[in-house]
Symmetry: C2
Subunit: 446 residues, 2 copies
Amino acid sequence: MLRTLWNSRRRPFATAFQRYTALRDSQVQLLERIVGANGLITDADRLSVANTDWTGQFRGNAEIVVVPSSSDEVLQVIQLCVAEHLPLCIQGGNTSLVGGSVPANDELILSTCKLNRILHFDESSGILECEAGCILETLNSYVGQSGYMMPFDLAARGSCMIGGNVATCAGGLHLLRFGPLYAHVLGLEAVSPLEGGQKLNMLSSLRKDNSTLRLTNLFIGSEGQLGIITRLSICTVARPVTRNVALLGCRAFPDCLSLLRLMRIRLGPLLSSVEFMDQDCLDCVKEHLGLNNPIVTQCPFYMLIETMGFDQDNDEVTTLSAVEQCLLQGHAADGVFAESEKQAREIWKLRELISEAFSHDGYNYKYDLSLPMDKYYAIVEECKTIFGRECVRVGAFGHLGDGNIHLNIAAKWPSDLLKQRMDNFVYKWTVENKGSISAEHDNAPP
Amino acid sequence: MLRTLWNSRRRPFATAFQRYTALRDSQVQLLERIVGANGLITDADRLSVANTDWTGQFRGNAEIVVVPSSSDEVLQVIQLCVAEHLPLCIQGGNTSLVGGSVPANDELILSTCKLNRILHFDESSGILECEAGCILETLNSYVGQSGYMMPFDLAARGSCMIGGNVATCAGGLHLLRFGPLYAHVLGLEAVSPLEGGQKLNMLSSLRKDNSTLRLTNLFIGSEGQLGIITRLSICTVARPVTRNVALLGCRAFPDCLSLLRLMRIRLGPLLSSVEFMDQDCLDCVKEHLGLNNPIVTQCPFYMLIETMGFDQDNDEVTTLSAVEQCLLQGHAADGVFAESEKQAREIWKLRELISEAFSHDGYNYKYDLSLPMDKYYAIVEECKTIFGRECVRVGAFGHLGDGNIHLNIAAKWPSDLLKQRMDNFVYKWTVENKGSISAEHDNAPP
């Protein structure tokens, strides 16, 4: 059987593994010498879990999962794999939605799940040092005890691991407020396969260091191309104590942009999320999940606004006043303001369950695009015109504040021909309009 | 005369210019063909200005300044320099304090000052595209008309240029609040000397783009090692409308850290600066400039706290309440709160004039260090013990929130021997304690 080396062009170490071999028993013994018997997973059930991605759409055929418990063990595993020409797939929390965390074929899986030690936390600076296999939610709880918060958040928080978050440059729900991981990750330790395998120590915990080129930044979002992240230091942020949420309806897309601008200027750093949804998304959520849109006035576009702050007395008033100004100035036609955490969660549900609702429509074609603001919704309108008739639904939602749109097209059945036409159109249009076809997920190139 | 190629190890294009030649008339004619007669500066007065750095301590001997007015002209100049083996020095606002912007010898100067066009500003997203020679203050005023602000600020704002800010990864006064330039610079255009000179287009204006390794980040802080930045896109921030400033005195250094932590947690994103000064600094400012310390209680350490926000009604109360809590909990022994913008500026003066005051003490040995929080002041104490007797004053101030300390040692006269002993001690100590000897200025290595 001809085996591809990696399951996407992005897989690490392509140059280091020019030749590769199938796993032999003698090599398994060598691996066991490094990680111990407890560090090898071979039973069928656990292998099946590790070989299957979160969506169930991507499956690998690894015969073994290697679980090193220190970065020295990672180094030895890499050195062995380079020497023996063994391809491997790095796996953290295995929460990738695009097949990035499972083998394409029978590469061995290297799991970072035992690299889960919190190494140091400085309560004055909020700087955390930990291993790559720490779970995001665990870290968040840990620093939360001292009044801090991780500077990003994802729905997969309960199982995704910080090393994978950094390797994929996870964006998440609060990028608008706290900025990208480049702003927070201060240093890394990584194992590179170059020159037979070596450990790179870039583990600075300094917020300012201009003494050399900052290679740490190159590793953020490198998705394994350069090596395996084993440790890192990250600057956490102060944990807010208030949250306010509103949902607003807009009559035209330019109103959404005016609303965004007004919110940014009125609310400044209080603003934690600005999420966009079109009518088709809310229709879909209602149709399949029975969730009602609380806004009475029918609008083509909806905006979810969230603030998070430190002032129990005033944050609600400040947020409400900005929302009212949007209505007064006509940027929004109608709106609701959550008066309790329960109502806030209900509004968020409308946004968070759109993907699930779309899956009930049939087969889904999904695109995760970054687009310039003035082109943000234009692609959706074009898709409606071109593909609307032969599909069940064309809708879009996303992080308007970050220029990131999730375009969803639902059809009754999968069709390779339709997919090809869609890919061709969407990717070409996106590139021509200076967007990116891989905003926060690592989409495979067309 | 043997000429060094560049005035520091950091100078660009070292590999591209293996051999170099003195400037010939025929080459000047070739340069003139690219930039026109107006694009060449040769008169003595203007040459002298371009050859002298801001401190007056560093001087070059360039015979010509080349001033391209487009990135295409920059490209042609670089191609010519590579082909003709002409070394060059890139100059923006020439505000470097460490000789980084003037030639070491007679390299020609390439000035970016005519690359000063604002190319695009998106009012919804706050994303600005401009050329590298735009002055920071000009950009700040421009985006200010739409309620935005540049995400960093420097004392040199009136003359420093955005290309140089990015090339040196300028930190500045608000890093604590807005984060480093990595968080804001979205894309770059640069001219690299590789392969005879080429333009690199990394000019994305997307807040999220995971489609490839983000080379833009590698250029930030690369100080010309990789090429000349010609254009960039940067994400601005909403412009705050309130400012509150307090000065607090602490009895021991651990109290400064507790105070920092409390401020971060109580004030969250309202906090814009946390600046540290020791008693020696304030003594020096009083002695030479007559500025009185408004805090009556004698303290070894002082902390300047600044908040910037959007809530005219409440920000002052919120800041004051956090300051009071510090006093109640004993983190601070005494303090003053500015009741007007005038008082705020007076408090800031104490901090901003320390460098000038030290210069009146005699010859200054200056170190710009990043240190882990628990080691932040320890080096100053060691220096007092070792060098205190033979010097006039040892004092330190800096951005405590960023772990960045400016150590100043004043002696009556310059002494090469003392400098060597000091360098040896400070650099060794800093490296041993996992600090950086180049926090925000590009200090020459020991």
